[in-house]
């Protein structure tokens, strides 16, 4: 997830005391309202749009070792790159810290893909994931990016090329050791 910058509003306490210590002068209401406005205008505007860290491109070549499982065992198949190392399947919920390809074709020997709007950052765990049942989180890795220990950094406007070998019969251990 992209880090966000949030400014604080430091001036409210001043307004608090302006209210609490007012004196009953004739023009006091206008004075206080004016002070409130002036004091508040000096504060920031609250929530700001986070900085755009930009995106880069991930391209890859996926090689499949035969045999393919039956089509009923492949509910979905995607390339997924995570900016963290998953500890269990609940980490699949961290959708905002991963980039997911469109559905990959089945029954092929080799497939090349491109993810052109991947957020900038370090990706620690990437590979092909198979959804093997209807359950929402019935996913498992079937092949991983292994170059440089599986970690790569994507810079703004940069291009990273990866290779994955998928062996449905010998999937990687999950969670990773």
């Amino acid at each position: 997830m992209a880090p966000t910058q949030i400014k604080k509003a430091p001036c409210e306490r001043a307004m608090y005391y302006n209210q609490a210590t007012m004196n009953p002068m004739r023009s006091l209401p206008l004075l206080i309202i004016s002070l409130l406005i002036v004091a508040s205008l000096g504060c920031d505007a609250g929530l700001q749009p986070p900085e755009d860290e930009g995106t880069g491109t991930i391209t890859g070549k996926i090689s499949y070792l035969p045999p393919w499982p039956s089509s009923t065992e492949i509910k979905d198949l995607r390339f997924i790159a995570m900016r963290f190392i998953p500890q269990d399947t609940t980490d699949f919920f961290r959708l905002n810290e991963m980039v997911i390809s469109e559905r990959l074709p089945s029954g092929v020997e080799v497939h090349e893909f491109t993810l052109s709007d991947a957020p900038v950052g370090t990706y620690y765990y990437a590979g092909v994931a198979q959804k093997y049942a209807d359950d929402l989180l019935a996913w498992r890795p079937v092949g991983l990016v292994e170059t440089d220990g599986g970690t790569f950094f994507l810079s703004r406007g940069g291009l990273v090329e990866v290779n994955v070998i998928v062996d449905f019969n010998n999937p990687p251990v999950f969670p990773p050791q």
Partner: protein, 759 residues
């Protein structure tokens, strides 16, 4: 309550007055005049006071010298009504002879803000707010009107100690944020519980803002009086009284626009981001006493709001009617019937903090379809009905009792995103029941209230899977309660209450809970009340918390083991009024409170279940302090109030703070009459960013853990003359952007013109 015993006599008196006025109107027009000067109790002149001839639309306002003059009046009986903000309204009945010039000088008494308020929620009876042994805040109809508050949450945001996260009411940090499920604050309409039957959420739009007499907020547990749901407090909305004579009509209309948000990148994310988005509405009401024994009012209102984000528009219609019939001098039957229909886009969460004006998508691995409607904004059509008949019987001067019935039903139809047509009903539910309450006054110093209530709810939704797999379920409840007040010695008041609730959750599960409460108040110093209260509370988990099983929006699984949460609360307070401490009148209320919860219910992501689930935490603590100050200047030209609430929360053994609770909350308000009949006003609220924000939601929705302080200033100016009031409002005048609840941008700046006509 004793004043009610003479109700019929007063009604006859007023009816006679009306008759005399009507007789008077039959006379030919001539040159009768009433004039005079209006002063405050110190002899100071009062400019801007409204003078209305009751039963007509004729009136005037006092000039800068406090003088007024009404010419060309008809001879006969004339009833004059003098009103001004900050003063008690006065009525004078005079008989004008032909060509008479009559002088009627009036001194209006100051209305001391806190000390004169009468509340009913604290002890199930009317009593002065100054003397109640618990913390209560009151919003009057004037407070709502002058701020053009058309939805309940807008009003509650101005109450000290109350914060709103989305549509979840927090009283002193009680509720946190749970998607408006399982409110720990009980909402009542004229004493009728009004939580939704499925989620126990608060239906903020079900109430007619234009027909509200006052809103009372009871801070702290109210379970001893009102049972489960009142664990963290009670919000009681009390509808307008019926007229004791004549008739009353009012038309309100307002229109305005949302200002485009400040940041270019936000505006560029939505095709309407650069436009002023309109909203408007109107309401019309009429009340009349048709005979000494029968009166009614009815009200219709409509509101359309284009919304300041994509897919957040809504149309809301309300129809309400109230009747009062007195078949015998000691019997009164009242009914309240309300209807609400609302069609809305339901913006659930943003796409990201870089595009907060567009709803987001949660895809769970499926490829996003750019042509589909984001699941962050499901549309629905909702209808709600509320029906509340009450029979009161004043048996003797020392005993009266009442029977109350109540029905609150709701029906939800999703709307097809593509065709706009309503689909099959997705959810239907009803909360219904009744109670009997008897009150005995054995002496001037004692009061005993006993009651029994029976309530049930039925709800049907494909989201709920109960123990026996049925989609329809209910949680019938039987309760008996007792409440006693006794004046001890000269300045001591003892109040005790106890309530036994028995719930049947489903075929396999029942719960019984005893909720005692005791409080002591000491009034040994004039105009001051010192109080101490301790009590237990509880809340049975709602249907939604226990039985929701759905993965359409977020993965949520049911928890059949969910137990009721219970609390023990302590509060000490000091409420006082001091006319002499500073010029004008200063009143204050200082409270210290400590709430200890067990089996506290919160939504959490449960790793072993791979889904969200409502679970019981072992323990939780919420403690803090609250100070409220109100001041009015001599002559009531200036009114000011300030409230500061400090919270310290802790979650069980972890020692972490509870999520979504602001440590500091400040609300401030002031009004000033700068010219005769012209008022300026400002409301300010400040909440610190919660110390802890639950991050599980941010797994699915980008930047959903992003929160900032809230810092909102509303300004208004209004002018009133002869029953017509024009108000200009600028809300969020600083154009400060904040987060209303996780992944929803708070309301940006908006401009409103409001026109009210009364006769």
């Amino acid at each position: 309550m004793r004043s009610r015993l003479s109700y019929s006599g007063r009604a006859r008196f007023h009816a006679t007055l009306v008759a005399l006025i009507l007789i008077g109107t039959a006379r030919p027009l001539s040159a009768q005049v009433i004039e005079g000067t209006i002063t405050d109790p110190d002899g100071g002149i009062l400019p801007g006071v409204n003078i209305l001839i009751q039963g007509t639309d004729r009136g005037t306002a006092a000039d800068r010298n406090g003088r007024y003059r009404l010419e060309d009046l008809e001879a006969g009986v004339v009833v004059l009504r003098f009103s001004a903000i900050g003063f008690h309204t006065e009525t004078r009945t005079v008989r004008l002879a032909d060509r008479q010039v009559m002088t009627v000088d009036i001194t209006l008494a100051w209305k001391t803000l806190l000390s004169d308020e009468v509340v009913v929620t604290a002890s199930r009876r009317e009593q002065p707010a100054l003397s109640v042994p618990v913390s209560v805040s009151v919003l009057s109809a004037d407070d709502l009107t002058r701020r053009n508050m058309v939805v309940l949450d807008e009003a509650l945001r101005t109450v000290s100690g109350v914060s709103i996260l989305g549509n979840q009411i927090n009283v002193r940090g009680s509720s946190g944020f749970a998607y408006n499920t399982g409110s720990r604050v009980l909402l009542m309409l004229d004493g009728m519980p009004l939580l939704t039957p499925d989620t126990d959420g608060v239906p903020l739009e079900a109430l007619p803002a234009s027909e509200i007499k006052q809103i009372e907020v009871l801070k702290g547990p109210g379970s001893a009086l009102y049972g489960g749901g009142a664990l963290g407090g009670v919000v009681n909305v009390i509808t307008r009284d019926l007229p004791e004579s004549g008739s009353f009509s009012e038309v309100r209309t307002f229109a305005g626009a949302w200002d485009p948000v400040r940041h270019d990148i936000w505006r560029s994310g939505w095709q309407h981001g650069d436009e002023y988005r309109p909203f408007w509405g109107f309401s019309a009401s009429h009340a009349i006493r048709t005979s000494p024994t029968f009166a009614w009012w009815t009200s219709l209102s409509f509101r359309r709001d284009a919304g300041y984000t994509a897919l957040s528009g809504r149309d809301v219609f309300h129809g309400f009617a109230k009747t009062s019939w007195q078949p015998a001098p000691s019997v009164r039957i009242e009914t309240l019937l309300g209807l609400m229909a609302r069609e809305r886009d339901n913006f659930l969460f943003w796409e990201s903090a870089r595009n907060p004006l567009s709803p987001g998508r949660i895809t769970f691995g499926d490829a996003p379809d750019p042509d589909s409607t984001p699941n962050g904004a499901p549309d629905d059509f909702v209808r709600q009905i509320s029906f509340l008949p009450v029979v009161r019987h004043f048996v003797s001067a020392t005993f009266y009792h009442e029977l109350r019935l109540r029905v609150f039903g709701t029906l939800i139809q999703p709307i097809d995103d593509v065709t706009g047509e309503r689909k099959e009903v997705e959810g239907i539910g009803a909360r219904y029941g009744g109670e009997w309450q008897g009150t005995w006054l054995p002496s001037e110093e004692q009061r005993v209230t006993l009651g029994i209530s029976r309530d049930a709810l039925t709800t049907k939704s494909s989201f709920f899977i109960t123990n026996d797999g049925d989609e329809i379920g209910g949680q019938p409840e039987l309760a008996v309660f007792a409440h006693a007040e006794r004046q001890l010695a000269d300045h001591w008041q003892l109040v005790g209450g106890i309530r036994l609730d028995h719930y049947r959750i489903d075929a396999r599960d029942t719960e019984s809970r005893l909720s005692p409460k005791i409080s002591v108040a000491w009034t040994g110093v004039a105009n001051n009340t010192f109080r101490v209260a301790i009590g237990d509370g509880f809340r049975v988990p709602s249907f939604a918390e226990r039985f929701t099983e759905n993965r359409d929006y977020l993965p949520i699984i049911r928890n059949l083991e969910l137990r009721p949460e219970i609390s023990r609360s302590f509060e000490a307070g000091w409420r006082g009024v001091s006319p002499g401490l500073v010029p004008g009148v200063l009143s204050w209320d200082l409270s210290l409170f400590h709430n200890q919860y067990r089996r506290f219910i919160e939504p959490r992501l449960v790793p072993s279940e791979q889904a969200f689930q409502f679970i019981n935490l072992d323990e939780a603590r919420i403690q803090g302090a609250e100070l409220m100050l109100e001041w009015q200047s001599p002559g009531a030209r200036w009114l000011a109030s300030l409230g500061h609430t400090w919270l310290r929360t802790e979650e069980g053994a972890s020692g972490m703070t509870l999520p979504f609770r602001p440590t500091h909350q400040v609300v401030a308000s002031m009004g000033a009459r700068v010219l005769p009949a012209v008022e300026l006003g400002a409301d300010y609220r400040y909440l610190t960013k919660p110390d802890r924000v639950e991050t599980d939601f941010a797994r699915f929705v980008t930047d959903a853990d992003m929160m900032v302080d809230t810092n909102v200033l509303d300004l208004r100016v209004s002018a009133e003359r002869g029953g017509v009031r024009l108000t200009l409002l600028v809300q969020n005048a600083l154009e400060y952007h904040y987060v209303d609840r996780p992944a929803i941008l708070g309301e940006p700046r908006r401009f409103t013109i409001q026109l009210i006509w009364k006769r």
